[in-house]
């Protein structure tokens, strides 16, 4: 059984040290904020200028000027702060953020990441991803294991334009948790019932 997105988020949460500072990318990673237990004392930063992201607002507390990097409405916890984008990326580039969790299009065995464009088809832009992968102490990629055509997004060598080189520490998909290890991916954990063989291209994994 592959993991649900919520189970993937829980697996990520289990990897984080208590009291750490975390930056979350757009899409699937925002689930991590929603499921974060308060007892973990994690401070969540969002690149648009907020430290201390909390749960979703209610219809009564929602504010159009309080959003995350995905332009979704949020709240803040006690101890939160707001700041401009240069300070926000100073935190990121300056090595003050413990973990960043981003989505991905391709990750390869050398820890290279591609997640911002498909030439001729799709351009999302890199946003803050290039700064994050170079600045955060640990880079965790949270993504589906296969793309829409059924091709593995964990690859020997990224073909898409890169976001960063040798930057990824951990990849989590619905099938398991993997770490780029020079010429293969080391399998750190598999979802229940998933075998290395069922990942497809098992030569890619140790």
């Amino acid at each position: 059984m592959s993991w649900s997105k919520e189970e993937m988020a829980s697996e990520v949460i289990n990897m984080l040290s208590d009291g750490a500072t975390l930056n979350l990318g757009i899409g699937m990673p925002t689930l991590v904020a929603e499921l974060m237990p308060p007892t973990k004392n994690i401070m969540i930063q969002s690149e648009n200028g907020v430290m201390g992201v909390g749960e979703r607002p209610t219809a009564e507390t929602v504010s159009p000027t309080l959003i995350n990097a995905g332009k979704e409405t949020i709240t803040v916890n006690k101890g939160a702060s707001f700041f401009d984008s240069a300070l926000s990326f100073g935190m990121i580039r300056g090595g003050h953020i413990d973990y960043c969790i981003l989505g991905g299009m391709e990750v390869d065995v050398a820890g290279n990441l591609a997640n911002w464009m498909v030439p001729g088809q799709k351009i999302t832009g890199m946003g803050g991803a290039m700064d994050l992968v170079n600045g955060a102490k640990q880079v965790i990629i949270m993504m589906s294991h296969f793309n829409k055509n059924g091709t593995s997004k964990l690859v020997y060598k990224c073909q898409l334009p890169l976001t960063g080189t040798s930057v990824v520490n951990i990849v989590i998909t619905e099938l398991g948790i993997f770490a780029p290890a020079v010429d293969k991916f080391r399998v750190l954990k598999l979802a229940q019932g998933i075998t290395k063989e069922s990942l497809g291209g098992d030569a890619l994994y140790v």
Partner: protein, 229 residues
Amino acid sequence: MSKICRDAFEALAGIQSGMTLMSGGFGLCGIAENCIDALTMIDISNLTVISNNIGNSGRGLVKILVQKKIRKAICSYVGGNPDLEKQMFAKEIDVDLVPQGTFAERIRAGGMGIRGFYTPTGHGTVVAEGKDVKVFDRPCILETALTADFTIIKAQKGDPYGNLWFKETARNFSPLMAMAGKITIVEVEELVPLGAIPPEDVHLPGVFVQRIFQGKNYKNDIEFLKLKE
């Protein structure tokens, strides 16, 4: 000379085709709604626009994008802006995609008198192509400052000197762009008297502001409303 203007049209006096314009906001959060609406009615073209998203979801700067008033865009993110992506693929617009932290820092540098800086961001990617590389603890690329002829931003509160206070995450790029603009125009939800913003709470000192006006009819659009279940 008073910095206070009557409205967006008076504040935008002197803007011309071919100029460089910075526009604050992250997505639609904190955008200068009145100035953007005025630009849709001003006969102008060939603008170089520096803004993180160039509007989004058909709103904000997309209003002047679809009028073909923008020749070149400098931004970090295209996702959520199908009109921009379409013009990029049709080669109707030049787009310079800049990593967001580099984007912010280039604007900050522009306002602070720094001509350039070295950053590890983008090394080993297409962003580094053609740029000077210098190895410190690791390879870094040279990025240069950005400035603008006009900057348009919005703040929650401002006083007649131009001291500003921003609400929540609406601050984003606005104070940086204010510093980097030759003529910085601020529209505010509340134009307050001098002294109404305590000095400790001034987010941007008014020295960076040339023109300010009380805005009106704010929509403050939410792009993705997510509520607690």
